[in-house]
């Protein structure tokens, strides 16, 4: 499967994504709603608290990639969602298109079926937004990542990572 080389998220589209995540959190009473790309990088999140979302993103994307390999062994194309149930909280991860992942962290008293239905609805909305994002980013990328930017990042890398 061909993979994207990069994704450029504009301010306008990020607020559209934030709106979908916020509404999903409100409707399900979720403590967190998170949008990741499948490589584990956090695109946007909604929620409060001090959880390490960077590590959570890497682990959730890893778990999902692993499940895809399981699906392949079973002859399935992929698993569209994974549910991890805890005593206090549970996590539902749902594929958005083929490149992204919607993660909902919710408390035990919330009905799983409700979360599944609303997450699927949000996933469809997010897919439409992300389709626009993936087709509209070239110009924005060129504005950010120019020759001078690359040179300055290289200097930062040299000064930070010394022997």
């Amino acid at each position: 499967m061909e993979q994207l080389t990069n994704l450029v998220v504009s301010e306008g589209e990020l607020s559209n994504i934030a709106r979908v995540l916020g509404r999903l959190a409100l409707d399900t009473g979720a403590s967190y709603t998170i949008l990741l790309d499948k490589s584990g990088q956090l695109i946007a999140s909604h929620g409060q608290g001090h959880r390490d979302l960077t590590a959570l993103g890497a682990l959730m994307a890893g778990a999902f990639s692993s499940s895809r390999q399981v699906a392949e062994i079973l002859g399935e194309q992929d698993f569209r969602s994974i549910l991890q149930q805890g005593v206090q909280e549970s996590i539902l991860s749902t594929l958005v298109g083929n490149q992204w992942l919607l993660v909902v962290v919710f408390e035990q008293q919330t009905h799983v079926g409700l979360v599944k239905v609303l997450a699927r609805k949000s996933s469809d909305e997010l897919e439409r937004i992300l389709d626009r994002v993936r087709h509209g980013g070239v110009q924005a990328r060129q504005q950010v990542v120019d020759v001078q930017f690359r040179a300055d990042v290289a200097n930062t890398i040299d000064s930070l990572f010394q022997d």
Binding site: M1, E2, Q3, L4, T5, N6, L7, V8, V9, S10, E11, G12, E13, L14, S15, D37, K38, S39, G40, Q41, L42, I43, A44, D52, T54, A55, A58, L59, A61, G62, S65, S66, R68, Q69, E72, I73, Q99, G137, A140, R141, V144, V145, Q148, F149, R150, D152, V153, A154, T156, I157, D158, L160, F161, Q162, D163
Partner: protein
Amino acid sequence: MALINVAKREIQCKIVYYGTGFCGKTTNLQYIHSHAPQPARGDLLSIATESERTLFFDFLPLDLGQVHGFRVRFALYTVPGQVLYERTRVAVLNGVDGIVFVADSSPDKLEENFQNLLELEMNMRRMGRDLGSFPFIMQWNKRDLPDAVPTQTLERYLNRRRAPSFNASALTGEGVFPTLRAICKGVMGSL
């Protein structure tokens, strides 16, 4: 897949350390974690078995701080090296922006290195990527071994693409940061 978040003014890239079991991928990350300056390094996350071998991956986020108003971050991953875990390696490669191939310089590991490299090439092809046009660095690790295979031999058998290569001894830290600098710059150059 590099993520350029214009709204959050953030750039995130993913780098994977690939190689055979016990070649020193995790040791690279451990050295970086213990020697990179404090604000730049995040927590090292390892999913290992009781025998301390990587079961799924290691994960180390690095934060370069602000450049031109953008926060630049690299996420370093390792794959489990054992042959058994090929499917897991494919999973970890998902969305990768740059790869370091850590080759074990022990003479009895030469064939295993070669097979592992072939597997990596195949996995990348399946993802529609060609290692030849991709940020890719070779690291000749364990150069401190008394019977280490000469680097010319490693270059001849494992580096037909003439990717940039570095001698290293990850245990002592030799070559770890030069490798890291090269792959980070390679990834930025390809954005």
